[in-house]
Amino acid sequence: MKFRRFAAALVAGAGVLGSFTTSATAQDDNVFKLAFVAFLSGQAAESFGKPAVQAATAVIDALNAGSLPKPYDKVGFGGLKIEVHLIDEAGGATKQVEELRNAFERDHVDAVLGYVSSGDCLAVSPAAEELKKLLVLFDCGTPRIFEENQFKYVFRTAAHGAMDNVAMARYLVKRGIKVADVGAINQDYAWGQDSWKDFKGSLAQLEPEAKTKVELWPKFGAGQYGTEISALLQENPALVYSSLWGGDLQAFVLQAAPRGLMKDRVVVLSASDHVLPPLGNKMPDGVIIGARGANGQFAEKSPINDWYVAALATAYPGLIPVQPHYRAAQGLLGLKTAVEKAMAANGGKKPNSEEMAAAMVGIEWDAPPGHIKLALGDGHQAIQSNAAGRTKWDPDAKMVRLVDIEHFAAECVNPPPGIKSADWIAQGFPGAKCD
């Protein structure tokens, strides 16, 4: 009888697995089990996954060795050694939800830190909330997470995408770059759509005379942009904007530069610092670059940043740190701050999710890119300062340097609490504090 067999099989299987997981549940009170999620395969592995993992490994090793400068000199998280469970973000949102649940429920990790893709962030947040477990998002861009939902156990330690494009627009103003018309090329999915919407909106506020001439929407992962480039050349806008990233952006630059698209024209690449190391001198000079925060070369001198640059240099000789390195470190230090705050409150015990979530609300900490503050989304969403600059190939150092750098205070490029970033941009940045 099939169903009976099935029931039997299920119960039996459950028994087996149950037993062997309960044996694995032996909770260790002086290690902090951290699941770290990033793209280990697929289109985002090269540009985001690999660097993020490099950064996490370097920082966590240092944390466990207690070799960070104050105030991060405690071993691991408040004395708890950090044990990392690596999870591949590739495979779609459904898989991410499953893996998140397994990480918490089966592997009993104390917190999950990760996620580059906005889709994944949106998908896993409700799952973490349902399990009442701490989830820290360190990279994904979409503002929707805390503007459309309220979460108790979910935090994002990096600013959302709106700031990237507001800063780009402000850079044009600050540098007195006036353009008559704009052409845009963005991937046809949420990241590209949102980025362009924000940049277009910001420009409409700051340089209303700039007209949009053409919007191109290549597929994510297209890799070939010949036709798009022709279309841009034909429309011949004074400014070309793109939020492309990773392999797509590299391919675009490789194909656009030889055809003169990036010559005598303002080119704005809102999230592109991470393609400078691979592209090297194939990236033309004078391109306006954003790094989704004062990351990499934009980072200003500070004890923690000096330490971080040195640490990466020793761990990975010749590595040029870029945004994913910075965002991962920023997330780890934010989590560390929260955990240690919670332990201070509960008398040094290993904190549970409740305590950590409570402690993390609204915290501030100093990360390599500068001072970070969970100011939005009722203290769940970080804001941070941002910067932009122009590319300049340095033949001696054999690397692209960033020059004409402008920094923008966090409150200047991020919306104040209680207003959606889209509305904030549309209303002309009310309450923006630009020193």
């Binding site: 119960v11 697995l17 149950g18 779609g92 499953e98 397994n102």
Partner: protein, 330 residues
């Protein structure tokens, strides 16, 4: 009739067993099982098609339709009851199925597969552009209620959903079993075996396949709605070709003899996937690929055939579609 009674009895037992199992097993497995059953239902639809000799590579279309129907109902009309949402998912699948079935019922083999695949990719493309439905990032759903019972987001929420999913699954499975064992079910088998004779006996192969297609569509819609509820999130990837491919694999893995095997296969696949991604985070896809190859190579008849081998006095001798030479071109 005796057969039906026995099947129904078995269904009741299965429900009880699952309800019990829900207590015994750890929560993570409850969550895995819930999702596995939801996906299994979609695969069950493919099994229904396979009995007629067709394999759809685009069940993501209906999976997605069911999920978005439930999601929209929840977000736009504030419908929160799981039963209602799943019913809507089924209706979405049904309508879509009835529209599409006549277009595809005339095709066989790889043509049918590619047509269904093309269809799902168009749905995928359109959803990516539909910003009102969250575009490529999709939508979040809140936890459903069950016949008026609102469990707080917690362990018993996941248990409640598991119970509900199991109920729907067992009912669907029992109905399919009855249908497969019926004369009409046998006719599907016959149609895969020899279309000419079926036609010369006065039956229409087109109709047989069409009906199977609609059954598969409804099951796809139900599975989609259930997945949406258990994930709390829907996005266009529901219609992506890899999603559909996973369902086909489930169907092949289980074979079309045993209905139960489909759900065993679904749980097995979830476990293999999650454990391989836990133990080889860098090469889990490759591991999954190897698993696929080995299963197809050594279990041509699927898990169901294995069950038959264990139980000699089986139903009809199982032959995987693999070994079935019929139904190439239409």
């Amino acid at each position: 009739m005796a057969g039906i009674v026995r099947t129904l009895a078995a269904a009741v037992i299965a429900c009880a067993a699952l309800a019990l199992a829900g207590f015994v097993i750890p929560n993570w497995l409850v969550l895995v099982a819930t999702l596995a059953f939801s996906k299994g239902l979609v695969a069950l639809g493919i099994v229904a098609l396979m009995r007629g000799g067709l394999v759809s590579f685009g069940q993501g279309t209906f999976y997605c339709a069911g999920a978005y129907a439930a999601g929209m109902a929840m977000r736009s009309f504030g419908i929160g009851d799981a039963a209602l949402l799943v019913a809507l998912g089924a209706i979405a699948g049904l309508i879509l199925g009835i529209i599409i079935a006549p277009l595809l019922a005339g095709y066989r083999g790889i043509f049918f597969a590619t047509l269904t695949l093309a269809l799902s990719m168009i749905v995928y493309g359109i959803l990516n552009k539909t910003y009102s439905l969250g575009g490529s990032d999709g939508l979040n759903l809140h936890a459903p209620s069950f016949f008026g019972y609102h469990p707080a987001r917690s362990q018993n929420a996941s248990y409640a959903l598991f119970l509900f999913t199991s109920l729907v699954t067992v009912i669907a499975a029992a109905l399919c079993r009855i249908h497969f064992d019926s004369v009409r079910g046998l006719l599907s088998h016959a149609a895969r075996d020899n279309e000419i004779r079926v036609e010369y006996l006065g039956a229409s192969v087109r109709w047989i396949n069409g009906i199977n297609f609609v059954i598969a569509a409804v099951l796809g819609g139900v599975g989609g709605a259930l997945s949406a509820l258990s994930l709390g999130h829907i996005d266009p990837d529901f219609a992506f070709w890899t999603t559909s491919g996973e369902f086909v694999f489930l169907a092949i893995l289980s074979g079309y003899v045993s209905v139960t095997a489909v759900f065993v296969a679904a749980i097995l696949l979830e476990l293999v996937r999650s454990y391989s991604s836990q133990y080889f985070p860098n090469t889990w896809q490759g591991a999954l690929g190897v698993f696929l190859l080995l299963i197809i190579l050594f279990l041509p008849g699927g898990l169901g055939s294995l069950a038959l081998r264990l139980r000699p006095r089986g139903a009809k001798p199982a032959r995987a579609p693999a070994e079935n030479p019929n139904d190439r071109a239409p």
